[in-house]
């Protein structure tokens, strides 16, 4: 990992994404998938984003790239706010996405060369056919595919190789920033490590910045410089990777991290899990105040009244909890 320069490439301020859900014939209600999330990612840095399904982590990634129109908030790229359609078009040449499912994210009727070449065509980045072909082969080289693979179709490849095709496609426009949405979750352990290494190598070689969304906390710790934890559309903690693992402060982060099964029998047997009772509430009926209070053993009346502020408790370590000082003595 390169030492991240201390200049934010991506800045997200109070991002909101509400989906209107029909609850009756003439009634609808906002589902607050992302509700006021702020963070920044420095150049060359990897920010890990973790949380349970339904917490809004994928929506953050997609809204960030304007795949969904944000309901509120600001997105800044390299010191410039992304607002108009022209901004978005330019932004998409600089920011791309790698999807979770390598089986459904590649068009089965296109050859590998056409899949990787499509962004080049969309953004008219190649003047001639031969230039396009050269660029495609270069991209395939980046991800460890051979030139002979170019004329084949996606179904001829294994999951790991498909994910490589997806990564080559995301690199086609020569981006600075990639949103990686669970890019290794669908892969076998032995293949997972190959792809993770490739993300690391590409970052070094091309100076990429990643937003790495995943639910596998071991993978996220390995790849990220900083990690953000989300719960029910809100960010509850953000800290450097090692710090959040060694000293999580938010009660939710604590139980989330303690729930990770450690691949070491002696540690696993001794591990004291901080059990969470119940399920994550529906975002349609999110609790008032702190979203985690219904499952938090430290919750008091104050937690029901107001959402705790997302504040910096030590350098670079942000937490949103009313009782942070009392419970971490």
């Amino acid at each position: 990992m390169t030492l991240a320069e201390k200049k934010p490439l991506i800045e997200v301020k109070d991002l909101k994404e509400y989906f209107m859900i029909n609850t009756g014939i003439f009634r609808s209600k906002p589902l607050k998938a992302v509700d006021g999330v702020s963070f920044s990612i420095n150049k060359g840095e990897t920010l890990g984003l973790v949380g349970e399904s339904g917490c809004g982590k994928t929506t953050v990634g997609r809204t960030l790239l304007h795949l969904y129109k944000p309901t509120g908030g600001e997105i800044w790229y390299d010191g410039k706010q992304i607002k108009s359609k022209a901004d978005i078009r330019e932004f998409r040449k600089k920011a791309t996405m790698v999807f979770q499912d390598p089986y459904s994210s590649l068009n089965p009727r296109m050859t590998v060369a056409d899949i990787i070449g499509e962004p080049l065509d969309v953004h008219k980045l190649c003047a001639s056919k031969s230039e396009r072909q050269e660029r495609i082969l270069e991209l395939m080289g980046y991800v460890g595919l051979n030139s002979e693979h170019a004329a084949r179709y996606a179904h001829e490849f294994s999951g790991g190789q498909r994910q490589r095709i997806g990564i080559a496609r995301s690199l086609a426009v020569n981006p600075d920033f990639i949103v990686c949405d669970e890019p290794v979750s669908a892969l076998d352990v032995s293949i997972q490590a190959q792809v993770i290494n490739m993300f690391d190598e590409l970052q070094e070689k091309l100076g990429l910045t990643y937003l790495f969304i995943a639910h596998d906390l071991l993978v996220v710790r390995h790849i990220s410089d900083r990690i953000a934890v989300m719960y029910l559309g809100k960010m509850v903690e953000l800290a450097p990777a090692n710090e959040i693992y060694d000293r999580p402060l938010h009660p939710y982060s604590k139980s989330l991290l303690s729930a990770v099964p450690v691949p070491d029998p002696k540690i696993a047997r001794a591990n004291q899990r901080i059990a969470l009772t119940g399920d994550i509430p529906s975002p349609l009926n999110a609790p008032s105040g702190c979203p985690f209070r219904t499952r938090c053993k430290y919750a008091t009346e104050a937690c029901a009244e107001s959402m705790p502020e997302f504040r910096e408790v030590s350098t670079g370590h942000f937490v949103a909890c009313h009782r942070i000082d009392e419970i971490n003595d």
Binding site: M1, E52, S53, S158, G160, Q161, D188, V189, S190, I191, Q192, A193, Q194, I196, N197, D200, H215, L217, L218, V219, R221, H222, I223, A241, N242, Y245, S255, L256, S258, A259, V260, P261, V262, P263, D264, P265, K266, I267, A268, R269, N271, R273, A275, L276, D279, I280
Partner: protein, 343 residues
């Protein structure tokens, strides 16, 4: 006597492209009250091993050899009538995906009652009582209300609890859990694993835990089988497998997991891609991906070798090591084939 004895089990799928040997000579025993983990990647044959025990293979699949003995009773070739009595009563299974294992058009209660009435001589009223009792056992709150609800009204964790309740309703001797928590979030996974461990202790059943997650294995299992390309490459107690792996594939798996110490470094992946079961190499199936593969590995499959009382592996590296320190003598034929590799 072991509760379950599987000997030289062979299961193949006969497809248009040819015979796929999904399970190739698998043997193990399972004692009462023990948790056995079967790990391996997709296509390693771990699920097919379980389905063969239950005899719930897809139409093209067939057990072509070996035996499965439950409490001394042979199940292979015993016929559907016997198996109907075994499934659910003696051996139960829960599947990976709790979203699709329940029928969306019936209430939870109806499905539970149906399963209980099918396997036990209870009438409807008794079956309902039993269903509520089981839901309480797996920590479902308000079971009476839950019984009247449909699967879509339950979260993933809740549905998996219902599946466990259904599987345990007839107090089976063996519970087969096929990736029971893969589709769940870690916090819910922790709840389900804890529940399974607790029930296993209370009811004294044995569990076969099929998973690709070594973390789950470390937490749950007494014994572990590592499978690759339909064969067992290594088996032993959890401590032996994790702290003293003796097969190159197991070692590779352990190395490739990210840990606290790997941050900022490269992982050490297993190179290459998983094997194509239609084109199996003649030697060790892992040899094409193995960094330490020797000449003999390419042409000859290593036999299973006992490392110690609690541990066996099928890898030529162990033979090599044994020859080097003088603990193993090999016959002249093996020595000729092994060439310089085995000393």
């Amino acid at each position: 006597m072991a509760l379950l004895e599987v000997n030289h089990l062979q299961t193949s799928f006969f497809t248009d492209a040819g015979e796929v040997k999904a399970v190739n000579d698998v043997s193990f025993t399972l004692d009462r009250g023990k948790v056995l983990g079967i790990v391996g990647e997709s296509g390693s044959g771990k699920s097919v091993t379980a389905y063969s025990i239950m005899q719930i293979l897809a139409g093209t699949g067939k057990i072509i050899g070996g035996s499965v003995k439950l409490d001394g009773q042979e199940l292979v070739g015993a016929g559907e009538k016997v198996m109907k009595n075994i499934r659910g009563n003696k051996i139960s299974i829960i599947f990976q995906d709790p979203m699709t294992s329940l029928n969306p058009t019936y209430t939870i209660g109806k499905q539970l009652i149906e399963a209980i009435m099918l396997h036990t001589p209870r009438n409807k009223k008794q079956a309902k009582e039993r269903a509520i009792e089981m839901l309480k056992l797996v920590n479902v709150n308000e079971p009476e209300k839950r019984m009247k609800q449909y699967p879509y009204e339950h979260s993933g964790g809740m549905r998996q609890r219902v599946m466990i309740a259904m599987a345990l309703a007839c107090e089976p001797d063996i519970l087969i859990a096929d990736e029971p928590t893969t589709a769940l979030d870690v916090t819910i996974q922790a709840q389900i694993l804890e529940l399974m461990g607790q029930l296993q202790e209370e009811l004294g059943m044995a569990i076969i835990m099929i998973t690709h997650d070594l973390g789950v294995v470390a937490q749950m299992c007494d014994e572990v089988i590592v499978m690759y390309a339909g064969s067992i490459c290594e088996q032993g107690t959890a401590d032996e497998i994790f702290y003293n792996p003796r097969h190159e594939y197991t070692k590779g798996l352990m190395r490739s997991i990210p840990t606290a110490d790997t941050a900022g470094h490269r992982l050490q992946p297993i190179t290459g891609t998983p094997i194509d079961l239609l084109n199996m190499p003649e030697g060790c199936p892992f040899a094409p991906r193995c960094d330490n593969a020797m000449k003999i590995c390419i042409h000859h499959r290593a036999e299973r070798m006992q490392i110690n009382d609690d541990h066996a592996a099928a890898c030529w590296m162990n033979v090599k090591k044994g020859v080097e320190d003088g603990s193993i003598e090999i016959d002249s034929e093996t020595a000729t084939e092994g060439g310089d590799d085995l000393g």
